[in-house]
Point group: C2
Chain length 421, copies 2
């Protein structure tokens, strides 16, 4: 049994992870939250108390930490006796936090791929540029590392693995679809850190098609889908973390990621990007000040956490899987619908943060009870999907499936696949 959790970061996802860990602190033990800005971590602690989200009385404590400082992070892991570290801070921190876990033997969980602030869209598969280089170090140290344990990457990887293993004889394509039919009521905002959000779209788009990497440009390929609950949604082919592990671990020739964008989002993005305001290369003002334009854009945009209070509507994220079953063409959509207002009532966050933070907490529970504690590095599709998906049923993210037999819950209460509506 691994106990005591250290959460790195104090943004939207860390907020949800803290609340959900608190709801399971009888199992997880002490909860520690470390952020560069101590006040932000303290704010999360206060909100957990205020919303009464501690399952049982216990330690929940904020710490100031520069998580790029591996020695400092290792010292905090030791001081808190944390056996599970959930890296929910900016993606720039992954490799430093992972190194601190290797040094201390603590398990590691993150929800997004590592990024180097100086680079965008490196050569695929992206995991091979950073995380996978540490796989041997994890195995040597007996460290369980679970990469990309949010919703996407994360739950969509588990859906893919489940489909390949149990629903098809042969899978020809997996289209991961991420749509948000919610509205925050602002002129413009990103749903998570603008710096990370925009970085996803400023470089090339990498997709896995016909068994090889294809490069295209953002907003070049559009596809509309009729989705449950949220209806018809327009999406665009986008590069995304999970394509880079699924294409390695599953024998599927087409793996694509589609993200929904409104025309308004695309217009604002196009203006900012065309002007060079999304660049992370510093520019020099007429007065001689050096500044990274993207950091200024981030500074003027609403804080994503501030959107939650008034966010209305729902997200729909899932995998449309096509292939052959019993000699016949077969198609399933496995998905989750998450409600912004419901997420806010439960943990004080909108659905985008909620869908990323809840699965990471569920992964921590599976490490704590040993189910996923295999003492090596894993992407989600390398782990048994059912225990995780079953846990998510009761933690706020139930899965559904739509196929020729109709639209129904994916799993029965005892975790069996439901065959018909």
């Amino acid at each position: 049994m691994k106990r005591n959790v250290l959460i790195i970061g104090a943004g939207g996802v860390a907020h949800v992870v803290a609340h959900k860990c608190a709801q399971h602190n009888a199992t997880l033990g002490e909860i520690h939250i470390a952020s560069r800005t101590l006040e932000k971590a303290q704010g999360i602690v206060r909100s957990v108390h205020a919303m009464g989200n501690l399952q049982t009385s216990g330690v929940i404590k904020a710490h100031g930490l520069n998580a790029l400082d591996i020695k400092a992070t290792a010292a905090l892991i030791r001081a808190t006796n944390a056996r599970i570290v959930i890296q929910a801070g900016t993606s720039f921190l992954n490799m430093a936090v992972l190194a601190a876990c290797v040094e201390t033997g603590a398990a590691y969980i993150d929800t997004a791929i590592h990024e180097d602030p100086a680079k965008t869209c490196e050569a695929p598969p992206w995991y091979a540029n950073y995380e996978w280089k540490q796989a041997q170090a994890c195995a040597d140290a007996g460290v369980t590392a679970i990469l990309g344990a949010g919703f996407d990457p994360g739950v969509v990887n588990a859906y893919a693995k489940l489909a390949v293993d149990e629903l098809f004889d042969e899978v020809s394509s997996i289209d991961i679809i991420d749509t948000n039919a919610g509205s925050h009521g602002k002129y413009f905002a990103t749903n998570f850190d603008p710096e990370i959000n925009f970085r996803e779209f400023t470089g090339s788009v990498w997709s896995w098609q016909e068994g090889r990497w294809c490069e295209s440009r953002m907003f070049e390929e559009q596809r509309a889908w009729d989705l449950p609950v949220v209806g018809r949604q327009t999406t665009y082919l986008t590069g995304h973390d999970e394509i880079h592990s699924l294409s390695t671990h599953l024998d599927v020739p087409n793996i694509r990621f589609w993200m929904g964008f409104s025309d308004h989002y695309i217009n604002v993005f196009t203006v900012l990007n065309s002007l060079g305001l999304l660049s992370e290369q510093p520019v020099r003002t007429a007065e001689g000040q050096q500044i990274v334009p993207l950091k200024v854009v981030k500074a003027v945009l609403p804080d994503p956490a501030s959107l939650a209070r008034t966010y209305k509507g729902k997200t729909c994220i899932g995998d449309l899987v096509r292939g052959v079953k019993d000699g016949r063409p077969h198609e399933v959509l496995i998905y989750n619908v998450c409600d912004h207002e419901q997420a806010y009532r439960e943990v004080g966050s909108q659905a985008i943060s909620y869908t990323a933070g809840v699965p990471a907490t569920a992964a921590a529970l599976l490490i704590a009870d040993g189910t996923w504690d295999n003492r090596k590095m894993n992407n989600i599709e390398q782990l048994a999907p059912r225990p995780w998906l079953q846990l998510l049923e009761t933690m706020g993210l139930p899965s559904r499936i739509r196929d020729a037999h109709g639209d129904r819950a994916l799993l029965s209460p005892c975790g069996k696949l439901l065959k018909a509506a």
Copy 2:
């Protein structure tokens, strides 16, 4: 005879002023160009030599100067023995440069109203907030100051004065129309300093209607006009310098300014403005750096001077004047059409800078020969318009008139108004 000219600034307008002064240096004497960035002033000197624009061999020299430093500017005026100062730098400098002229007795010319970097769109009339407060000081010191001696403000004020005095018995409205049907081929750029350009549109729009100030918002009122050469142009009611002097000095109940904008310009402007990126209030990045967003936007946009080389097409700027003549309704359009490529061939600038810089130089010639050297402060409509307009005929900015009698040159070669085509 006043001789020796000191040009303040080294941007697009200063570049044109330097070239045009050089073309008249037999009259104007030495030409000195002072800029905060010495290299920029040196670049202008080099381009004057390279294009062979010196009328006769003589001094043309670059100086480094912080023109906000009144003592330093006065010292440079004395050292160069400049009797005419043309303030062609940023509008933030007007009052400091004017003070140096009052101190030294040199004549003062500018092409745009003074602005305080900390304020936008102050109470009308704007001139009363700054320049006019120094009218008595100018008169006391015997200093000739000519305010707004570009095209708009400037030539359009002379058109208005000419119409009121010579073409109508009574004028009911003056609509100043500023359109640019040219194309610079970039995704987006402003034709002069982005900081000054955007400041014109981020506050309230002040117009003079029915004999009083009306406040509206930018892009609220649209009007399309069929103009000579450039054809149908869509314009928007905009606040502008000349309304603030013409409404005081001419007895005309409606004076409005209309600026042409493409849908693309408005879209980019709206995105930037809505996000807060055109603000001059500093913001703080996540890393703690303080920065004024507008200065970052300026830093990423093309340098307006860099547009000239590939700029194609024409500007059309003029006054549509309506009223009564001989008991009957009467309407005239007095205007100039300027060609970007022709301006570039002559002085290495696009037409926006050219139309502002040439009239300022013509004003300097009228001070030099005594015509306009009245030793007090003037807006253009307080001076005789004909000598200036006649000079502009031969300096690259001929005026035309369109009325019920057709479309023709405004003046005959000897300066008489032409009555019919």
